[in-house]
Every structure is written in C-alpha cells, then in structure tokens.
Symmetry: C2
Subunit: 414 residues, 2 copies
C-alpha cells in the first residue's frame, strides 16, 4: 500500500479549489497532508454542489485522504499550535501550501524563524495579492469573449475552474521542485505565484497573446468547432450529437474516406484554390466542409457513426450530460481502476476517483474519503506537536481546538 | 541566472499542448529540455494560431527555452541516436516525457535496457491508449452540456484546452515525484496516465460526479453566473460589462453595502424565507438578486463601478477581448516581471511570458524564445551523444539529421 511520496508531510491552509486540489493530489500520491481550518470550518466548508442532506460534495471531493484539525486561530495558543504543526521537524516535513492571505504569524518569514529550511508555496489571486477567481480572471483576459456560438453577441463563461485546476497542479510542481532543491542544498524556499499569472502565462504559451499583438484582432467565437484545423459536432439520425476531429492529416483523411466525400472535398479545394491538407484551410472552410459531411451523419444512428469512426481511426466522442456519462461510460465506473464506489454515511454511494497517475513501482491504492472537519485533531496534537493527553484535554476544554465537528449544511447568518 | 531545476536534463517527444507545455514548464524552471522531432517537424509544427508570415505562434509559445533536434526516425541510425540521447548517462538525466504513441524501440521497457533507472512519463488520450483531445473529452464528460447561456439548448464548447493544460502540469509533478523517488531508492519508473482520466478525476474532485450520482440530474447551464453562490455580469452605463463576485460572506455583504441594497435584500429574504448569508440561497435567488443590483451598475460607468468595488473589497473584473486586455492591463506588459517583450525575426515583437512561479532563492530569468526546428541538432549530437565532428557531418550528409530547417508555413498535401 506504499505510494511514491510516502513519508512526506505537507501542511495546508486553504479554501476553494487550487490549494485543496494540490493537497489532495499530494495525499493521493502518498504524502501525509494535514489541512487545518478554523473551528466550524473554512470558507469552502459548505461550497456547492451539496448532497441532499446539505453536506458539501465539493469539500468532500477536494479533501480526500487528508488529515483535518480545527483550531481557534484567533487565540495565541491556537497560533502557537499551528506554528508547531507547520514547522515540526522531519527531513520530509516543513512543507506548507496556502491560498489564504497569511501575513504575519503564518507568513514565510515568521515560519522560517521556527524552521530555517521551511518551504512555503503561496498562491494569490493576482500578483498584487488581491483575491481573484476563475470567474474574474477569464473576463479580464478575453476568454468568455471567444467562447460560445458563432454570432452570439455576449461573452460566455467556462463552466470549469480551469485556472484553479492548473494552478493547483503547479502548487504540486513548485513544492516538489523546491523540496528537490532543499534535499541537495539544504535551503528553504518561499514560492509565490498568482492565479491570474497562471492564466496570463498560459494564454501566452498557447500563442493567444502573440496572435492579438501581431494582428490587433480579437479571435472570434467559433462555437463547437475545433480552432485552427477541422473538428465539428454533428447530429445523428437518433438525435444524438457527436464530436468528430480532423486535426491531424491522418484524422482528416480518415474522415474524408469514411464519409466517402473525396470528390466533394476535391471540388471544394478546386473552387476555393485551397489545399485541405493545410490545417488552416480546413478551419477557414469549416462551414463548407461541415455542409459536405452533415448528410453522412444525419442518416446514421450515433452508435453506428461512432463504430465507423473507430474503424477509420477518426477521433470522436458523444455529447452527453454527466448523469448520462455516469450511466454509459465505463471510464467513470469501477471498470476504470482509478474509480472506487464508496459509501458516504448520510450522503450515499458514488464513484470516487483516485489519482490519474500510474507509477509502475507502486500499486494503485484506493481513494480515501475526506475526513470530517477536525477528525484528526487529537492525533495531530499528539503525534506531530507531541502534546500529552492532559495537555490535549486542556485545549479541548478551553475551546482552542475541536474534534470531528458535525457537518454544517449552511453558514450561519452574519 | 541559475534556476531551481538547473542541471536536470529532460528529453521530450511530443505534439500539441500537454507534453510541450510540460517540457516548457521544466525549461522555464531551469532544466535542459531536448525536444526531438522528425525531419520537417512534428504534428504541431504549423498549428494555429499562426503569424501573418505563416509561422506557428502556438509552436513558438509551447517550445520556449528548449533545445531542438530533427532526426529521421524511420532509419535505424536515427532510432539509435534518439535512444542514446534519451538514455544518456548523468544523475539528473534519463528523464523522458511523451504524448506520442511510443510502442517498441521508444517505450519504457526498451529504454530501460539501455538505462536501468530510466524514468518515462507517458500521457495518452484515454486509458485504452486511443487519441483524445479536450474537444472530445469535454463532450463525453458533460462539460459543454452545462456551459452556455441559461435556456440555450445546444452544448457549448470551452475555448481553452483546459485538460491539456492541467495534464501538462501533472506531467511535471509526476516526473518530479518519480525523480525524487529515484534519488532515494535508485529505481526508475514508468508513469502513465490519460487526458480523459485527468478530466474524469477532476470532475470527481469538484463534486460533479457525486452530484450526478446522488441527484440523477444534470446540472443546468447558468450562463455567466457563479455556480453555487453569487456572482454575475452587469452592463455599466458606458456599455462595458463587468463581473462581480459575492462568493464569500465578506464579498457578499460588501456588495450589498456598496450598492445600498440592504433593504431590498432583506425584503427578498423575507418573501422567500431564505437566508442570503447561505451561499446556496444566493445561487437559487440569483435572478432576483441581479434584478435588485442591476440599476446600480446601469447608472455608473464601468470605471467608477470598479473603483467602488475596490473600495468595498468586492472582487470584480472587466470583460474584454485579448487585444483590449493587451492594451489596458499592466499584468500583460513588462510592468509584470513575468513578461518580456521579445522580437521574433520575421514575425514581430510581442510580450512573452516566463514562469508564473517566483522562487525566493532564485532570481527570475527572462523567457527564452523557441528554437527553430533542429537548431541544436549539431550541439546535441556532440555534447549528449558524444559524436565527433566527422561522424556528425556524415549524419547530415546521409540525411539522418537536419539542422535549423526553414519554418514551414503549412503542411504539404498528402
């Protein structure tokens, strides 16, 4: 049951997606991850989606396999406890990740006074330190402007917190890089970056900033078309919609052969003077190409069309809702070794993902559910801080710490 | 000019986003990254967006700071050269990342015969090894189904290859975790994972699979609204659109105070019997809330509304296109130390991002442009493979390798 990061201890102070995801990714690779929260739970303790009983499925999803301690951090004693947990000795400890504004007692300089080789990774909203979320970063960088149906006037938001997800994975990389460096040089590291910089760098890496700077033009919306080559959605005879990809030359030629549209494509190339083996020409002529391909899909049920795609080596998929995907796709079931169906008391059974990563030297381990808030308070105070049972009892009596608090279904009113 | 991963050598065989992004991320952290391609360039060598002269801005964006070698891999000599580059000795070498189907001479088992502690990270499309792209993964997992304006019937695609970006960062984490393990135990590692599993795991982590399993219902489209709490776009008196966030209680109460809508919100709470400090109630009542807030934004120019938000501690941003963002936002200029405006001969000048990560122990280094295809062929054959000048000349004469090929503006017809 050993895993590749076994022995590493990471402490996390976080809310919402990025850093919780980072901590969970490390936990699913075998690290001991301690998340600490204020008593009653942090900002994301009731975040939607929620189960019918009100419990946050979001919190349960992003805190799997962690240890949880709940501490009154307004008290001096609470601050001292947290400092001792974060800076506890151990070659593979002294690792702290956070996306909460931690100025003062929890910042890198303060922690380094307790442990000189401390590694801290801090994610902020923007580089000035203000809060930002995907919902604000995207509009400011032009993403909703280029999302949505062709001709639709208004900006359209992504449904996924994509930058949060990417930033969370970068917290993991940054931590591992800094720890690699510490192992060789013995030095700590204060790593900082922002969600907005992750987004700005990524759109630069994808060529979008260069495109805007060189052409001065905003990329228009292109609906469900694959940008810059060919890829389009088609409605089949059973009313189901599938996505078909002609990105590479092999995929494109396979698509043309499969649909028997060689002659029509040759006529289109002749009329327009464009070579359809040039991926850019396929994008420019996508509406004509779609017009040629449409009848083939319109007379075939989606299942048959998909089977033909498989035979022809054409990359494709079916559009569906998440419940439909859950019902139909073995990749979201225990047929996929990444998933295990777990029972969550009071909530129900559902498939829970482990890490997508397969390491040849380590057998896959089953995903471990999220702890109840404070479930490991006692254990951590004993094992990590080294307190006696009497000292721990005193902290509980004084209300400085809390164990396994009942889940709240919603925040109390202000 | 040293960087945190200096001394590490990674070899990359790739196309498109995920693995090129992973290699570039490692290069921007100081690793020596060698990307090898077939003569004439790989599948992504002309990928859009392209510059007015036809050069791929996508390729230039995702291969910054790497070394490039072009080799005829159909020849036995070419295969041997690549094997020697990938498995070359060095404590910090023997690291290979790929998203191309490498069965046979380039797979982990074959490479391990040349270097027993070889680390290989392979990203496939799905867990069965088939090609998949964001454009197919998203429909199959229900993302376009929940994206787009409320009431819009058809699925709406994301404009960003979000899974590719996340998977690329996971290639980095997986490589660093495997190398950390090798440093301690001396063992190599064959790491495999798939784009679709990254997506499936992530929607699970975000609670979307649990939600679908427990309710059986598909999450509907919610336009530009923030899901599960309050956040909405508003058109200001100058016609510009801004996004305003009331996710946390602090943001929400700030928004109500700023707009002076306390009484109206109290009436809404009374009429509905809901507590607006419950984030879920804010989402359920978002249309009513938006109706109450709208007049405040409608009479203020976006600049004034933004200033008020800043004063009130309300998180917000402005909708704009990428060219507008480039013109207006200092975060996309050299005011942001992450960006440098570089001149690309034959293409033009534009802001180029370095790594978003700031390591306290290492000064930020300027981004390095992508190489021309094959620009380092000679250097790599000499320094890494250890060939003599005569041997290298022989390889060029035989057409087994190519140096600094002229950029192609489009693929030749099949």
């Amino acid at each position: 049951m050993s895993q590749i990061l076994k022995g590493m201890r990471v402490v996390e102070s976080s809310a919402f997606v990025a850093v919780p995801l980072a901590g969970m990714t490390l936990a699913q690779m075998g690290a001991e991850v301690i998340r600490f929260d204020r008593i009653g739970g942090g900002l994301d303790h009731t975040r939607w989606p929620v189960a019918p009983n009100g419990q946050s499925l979001f919190w349960d999803g992003l805190n799997k396999g962690k240890k949880s301690i709940a501490v009154d951090m307004k008290s001096a004693q609470g601050k001292e406890l947290i400092t001792r947990i974060v800076t506890a000795p151990g070659e593979d400890a002294g690792l702290f990740i956070t996306n909460l504004a931690v100025k003062g007692w929890l910042d890198h300089a303060s922690l380094s006074q307790h442990r000189a080789d401390m590694i801290t990774v801090t994610l902020t909203g923007d580089r000035q330190g203000h809060p930002q979320v995907d919902y604000t970063v995207n509009p400011s960088l032009g993403i909703p402007h280029m999302t949505g149906p062709e001709g639709y006037a208004d900006p359209v938001a992504h449904a996924l917190p994509a930058w949060d997800v990417a930033a969370g994975q970068m917290v993991v990389s940054a931590l591992l890089a800094a720890e690699r460096n510490r192992l060789r040089r013995g030095t700590g590291q204060d790593v900082t970056f922002s969600l907005k910089d992750v987004a700005a760098a990524t759109i630069g890496h994808l060529g979008l900033i260069a495109e805007a700077a060189l052409t001065g033009k905003a990329r228009g919306k292109s609906g469900n078309a694959l940008y810059g080559a060919y890829g389009q959605d088609f409605v089949c005879s059973d009313g189901k919609r599938i996505m078909v990809i002609g990105l590479t030359e092999r995929q494109w030629l396979g698509l043309v052969r499969m649909t028997g549209t060689e002659a029509a494509m040759a006529r289109l190339a002749d009329c327009t003077g464009r070579d359809l083996c040039d991926e850019g020409a396929r994008f420019a002529l996508r509406h004509d190409i779609t017009g040629i391909l449409k009848p083939w899909f319109a007379v075939r049920p989606s299942k048959v069309a998909g089977q033909e795609c498989d035979k022809a080596g054409v990359t494709w998929s079916q559009f569906r809702s998440i419940p439909e995907a859950l019902a139909e796709d073995p990749d979201l079931s225990e047929d996929n070794p990444m998933f295990r169906v777990l029972n969550h008391p009071g909530v129900g059974r559902y498939p829970v993902p482990g890490s997508p990563l397969n390491f040849s030297g380590y057998a896959r381990t089953d995903p471990v559910p999220a702890p109840a808030l404070g479930a490991h308070t006692e254990e951590i105070l004993g094992d990590v801080v080294g307190l006696s049972d009497t000292e721990i009892a005193g902290l509980f009596d004084a209300g400085i710490v809390q164990s396994a608090a009942p889940r709240r279904s919603c925040r109390t009113a202000a």
